[in-house]
Amino acid sequence: MTEGMNPAMLVVMGAFVLAFIFGAVANKTNFCTMGAISDVVNMEHWGRMRMWMLTIAVAIVGANLLYYFELIDLSQTIYQRPVLPWLSLLLGGAMFGVGMTIAAGCVNKNLVRVGGGSMRSVVVLMVVAISAYMTLRGLFGQWRASYIDPVSIDLSQWGLSDQSLPHLLSALSGLSEKTALLITMTVIVLVLLAFVFKDKRFRSNLSHIIGGLVLGLLVVAAWFLTGNIGYGEDPETLETVYFATNTRTLESMSFVAPMAFSLEMLLHWTDQSLRMTFGIATVLGVVLGSFVYAISTKQFRWEGFASVEDLRTQLIGGVLMGFGGVLAIGCTIGQGLSGVSTLAIGSFLALAGIIAGAAATMKWQQR
């Protein structure tokens, strides 16, 4: 069926299908990264956090096995550049964490909510898209590039070609790259799975377990789609390229920058140089997948802003998520799932920043 289809088309259609499933499953299983942190802070309930950790564990195993068997090259991802902008990652992560808490969910959750009928989330996402685009290429971007991103550590000065934990272990220990990869992957995943499954209540929660497995596998499938199926010779230029990705390299699930690129595409539709990409297709897929699930289970309901204060809070949340998500090179899904699945040091920093920002905001909300 796929013979003769150009790789760009395959990547875009594949992205839509994967994201459609992601949206439906996330809605069905109540997957929510902000909710995971909120459940812990507000009621010491670790169920959804365990689900998120299971998703991460599955994504780490899948992505690194694909890398081990040389089916994809994770060292080419945006998360693995040998420069560690630690201030951007921590500050951006914290800003995103604050933003998602006051905006009732991260960008992915807001996309799922749009599918469920929330016009409030439509407005939040429009603000996220504008803020993110301003941070990529506009006014916020100038501040980012001038004052925040330069606070970084150049890892190449120590002979490191990327910032993955396995590569660091290999450099320090002398182990081969592949051995170091297997060891690092196994240790981290075993620790995660031990935490996830030690709770009896979680072990009997089929919805959370299946949700974690499926969402993790979707992240892996996305890596394979963009890094293998979508990697090849461009018939027009004869260069070897990654087809249909905004970053021009392999990508997996991520939603902040794709919001910006979706807005750009809508605004510059007649610009022939712009193409439908993996990221834009995932934005559409999540919304539609969530919509189909909501309609089929009769859970679709229109939702708007409740008050002036609600509008103000959510607008601020949208600006913070757009700025923070770009600054941190990803959101709860972009860094928290996809980035972490590559075992990049920076991704763990960004994730820590997000969780800290969200938890601090929730503590403040309790006052």
């Binding site: 929510c32 909120s38 507000n42 009621m43 808490t101 009732a104 409030r120 859970q299 409740a306 309790q366």
Partner: protein, 75 residues
């Protein structure tokens, strides 16, 4: 169903319905019933998880005029 106190969380977005419910219950005596009204769809799952986690019984859950209504009995 009779209740001792009512808290209207209409318009509050996740996670605020749970945060405010927890606060409302803190001032109540054991055995008293709190009626919570919410509009956030996430409140349905959150309230069930909150009840299970904290031991406050979720006596009833329904929909009235498009809003979610919960009755919680303080443990």
């Amino acid at each position: 169903m009779e209740f001792n106190k009512e808290f209207d969380a209409s318009g509050l977005a996740c996670p605020m319905p749970i945060v405010k419910t927890k606060k409302a219950l803190a001032d109540m005596a054991s055995g008293q019933i709190l009626r919570v009204i919410a509009t956030d769809p996430g409140a349905v799952c959150d309230m069930a998880a909150f009840a299970e986690q904290t031991g406050h019984a979720l006596l009833e859950q329904s929909t009235e005029n498009g809003k979610f209504v919960f009755y919680l009995k303080k443990a």
